[in-house]
């Protein structure tokens, strides 16, 4: 009886893994076909639409990077009289506030909001909501303080809003400090798979491209009708993605609207960041899975993709569960189908760690980007894959404990930015 139960569990888990594998395979094929049909990724039409935009930049203790970001804001090619930049100094204890004040003094379109420690909401969503109150633009665009966008990114993002059905637009994130060390190089590879293939494919196939926390644009009226960002969710970007879609709006992804990020530089920072993402994503899964299933505004393919996206951070946990089941099954005498399934599982294992796409997806993404040497590092992605199994398990355990004991888990474990990306910009 127990053996049959374990066999059934193993079969279900493997089937789930196969679903995720097929999804990534379809994404890769879709992007390859799209590229070779001559549709250059993300390039659609020339900008003819120039709405007033409000750019929100939440910043807490970002003195190493905020100057670089604001300097870039002054270099943007979008009409300055149609642009409002709001920096939310989230009770910084360093010189962030002073640096921003200096820029605000010299540039009329830059506004700074200082939040005192009492107001500090401990989550990014709280700072964004504070900024939203002062925003006057038709379109809200968000950047994190450590990012460095292209000068014409605003034009590329807002063009998509010509279509009234489009509620949000996401640009591409590329790693700025990639050559720094092995962690930044692996993060860069993950980003290639996640954006160049995953996001592009979702856009091409009419699915749900995911809104990120940065290089993201959204209609202000829509955002206000949704009551802004949800401060109880750690992954406020994923949450917003689904709220926008459930409200009946489309999300577009623009591959050539690039924004460069300073990636985490060591495994500890990687752990903190991914743990936060995993917890936030799991919160969203609990919040939205049923709504997605019952929604009248989503097509069947969007529902399937949405559910797979929402539940992706649970899969690494199922990986080690399937490993344990396979050991138990081994000692109970192997069923005939077992060997073959176990053989194929590593490929599936590679296929479901959120943005961390399977090897073939990352490889094709790197090839399409013309990054020949980056391909050599693909086998090392097994490190992040194994690491993410532990991270997601920890995140799930924390979430579970908080549910059972009613503890608050909403603490924003902020990524520290050293400003190492500055040296790559100077070059």
């Amino acid at each position: 009886m127990i053996i049959e139960f374990l066999e059934a569990q193993f079969l279900i888990l493997t089937a789930l893994m196969i679903v995720y594998l097929v999804r990534h395979y379809v994404f890769t094929i879709a992007v390859l076909n799209n590229t070779y049909k001559g549709k250059k990724a993300g390039v659609r039409r020339k900008a003819t639409y120039e709405p007033i935009v409000s750019i929100l930049i939440p910043a807490r203790n970002e003195e190493q990077v905020i100057g670089r970001m604001l300097q870039r804001m002054t270099e943007l090619t979008y009409s300055k009289n149609k642009m409002q930049i709001i920096v939310i100094d989230d009770a910084s204890m360093d010189n962030t506030g002073k640096i921003v004040e200096e820029y605000a003094k010299n540039h009329g379109y830059i506004k700074v909001i200082h939040r005192v420690p009492k107001e500090w909401g401990k989550v990014k969503a709280s700072a964004l909501n504070a900024g939203l109150k002062y925003a006057k633009g038709d379109i809200i665009i968000c950047f994190d303080a450590d990012y460095y966008p292209q000068v014409d990114i605003i034009e590329k993002l807002v063009t998509e809003f010509v279509d009234p059905k489009v509620g949000g637009v996401q640009g591409r994130v590329t790693v700025l400090n990639e050559p720094q060390n092995i962690v930044t190089r692996l993060v860069a590879l993950e980003r290639v798979g996640g954006y160049r293939i995953d996001q592009q494919a979702r856009d091409t196939l009419g699915l749900i491209p995911q809104l990120g926390g940065t290089a993201v644009a959204i209609r202000r009226k829509l955002l206000e009708s949704l009551d802004g960002w949800d401060e109880s969710i750690l992954a406020e970007d994923t949450d917003l993605t689904f709220r926008v879609c459930l409200a009946g709006y489309k999300i577009r992804y623009v591959n050539d609207a690039e924004c460069y990020e300073e990636a985490v530089e060591n495994w500890r920072a990687y752990w903190k960041q991914r743990c936060r993402w995993a917890k936030g994503h799991m919160q969203c899964a609990f919040k939205h899975s049923l709504k997605v299933l019952n929604s009248n505004n989503l097509l069947l393919k969007e529902k399937i993709d949405g559910l797979l996206l929402l539940n992706v951070y649970f899969m690494p946990i199922l990986v080690w569960i399937s490993w344990i089941i396979s050991v138990l099954l081994f000692f109970s005498g192997l069923p005939q189908w077992f060997n073959a399934l176990l053989t194929s599982t590593p490929i599936f294992f590679y296929s479901f760690v959120g943005n961390f796409a399977p090897f073939f997806e990352v490889g094709i993404g790197a090839y399409l980007d013309g990054r020949t040497r980056a391909c050599w590092l693909i086998p090392l992605l097994i490190l992040t894959f194994l690491y993410n199994i532990v991270i997601c398990t920890k995140a799930f355990t924390d979430l579970l404990i908080s549910k059972i004991f009613g503890k608050r888990i909403i603490t924003w474990d902020k990524t520290i930015h050293s400003g190492s990306g500055n040296s790559y910009i100077m070059k």
Partner: protein, 133 residues
């Protein structure tokens, strides 16, 4: 553009044919195990459908595919011989370890070989575009 697309379709069809023949020949061999069979099929499917449509000469892609198939064959045999010997000395514990780790270890070479193939193709394209005036 049309000519390039036709070439890609041609490469893919030829790739599927070579992959199918090579798989058939290897699977007819009595020396290939069940797990290697599946590994071979997955490798060939991914390689042909994702590498053959990329830019690059048909010869390079076919050679890579065939080398990959030869590796599957030798790797499978050598590894199962090693496993049998180790199981004989260390008993069932090694067997359990083997059954869990075997796919992962198999996968290490597949991903590495895949990366090298992509790199070779991308490099040759880069050299070609640099040589063009």
């Amino acid at each position: 553009m049309l000519r390039e697309n036709a070439l890609r379709v041609k490469h893919s069809i030829l790739g599927f044919s070579v992959g199918a023949i090579s798989s058939y020949l290897l699977l007819s061999s009595p020396y290939i195990s069940d797990e290697s069979t599946l590994m071979l099929l997955i490798f060939n499917l991914l390689f042909v459908s994702l590498i053959f449509p990329l830019n690059g000469t048909l010869t390079t892609k076919t050679c890579m595919l065939l080398v990959g198939n030869v590796i599957v064959f030798f790797w499978s045999n050598l590894f199962s011989l090693f496993a049998h010997a180790a199981t004989y000395y260390f008993g069932a514990i090694f067997s359990a370890l083997y059954i869990i780790l075997n796919p992962l270890i198999n996968f290490v070479w597949i991903v590495s070989f895949w990366s090298v193939s992509l790199s070779v193709l991308a490099n040759s394209e880069k050299r070609k575009s640099e040589a063009e005036p």
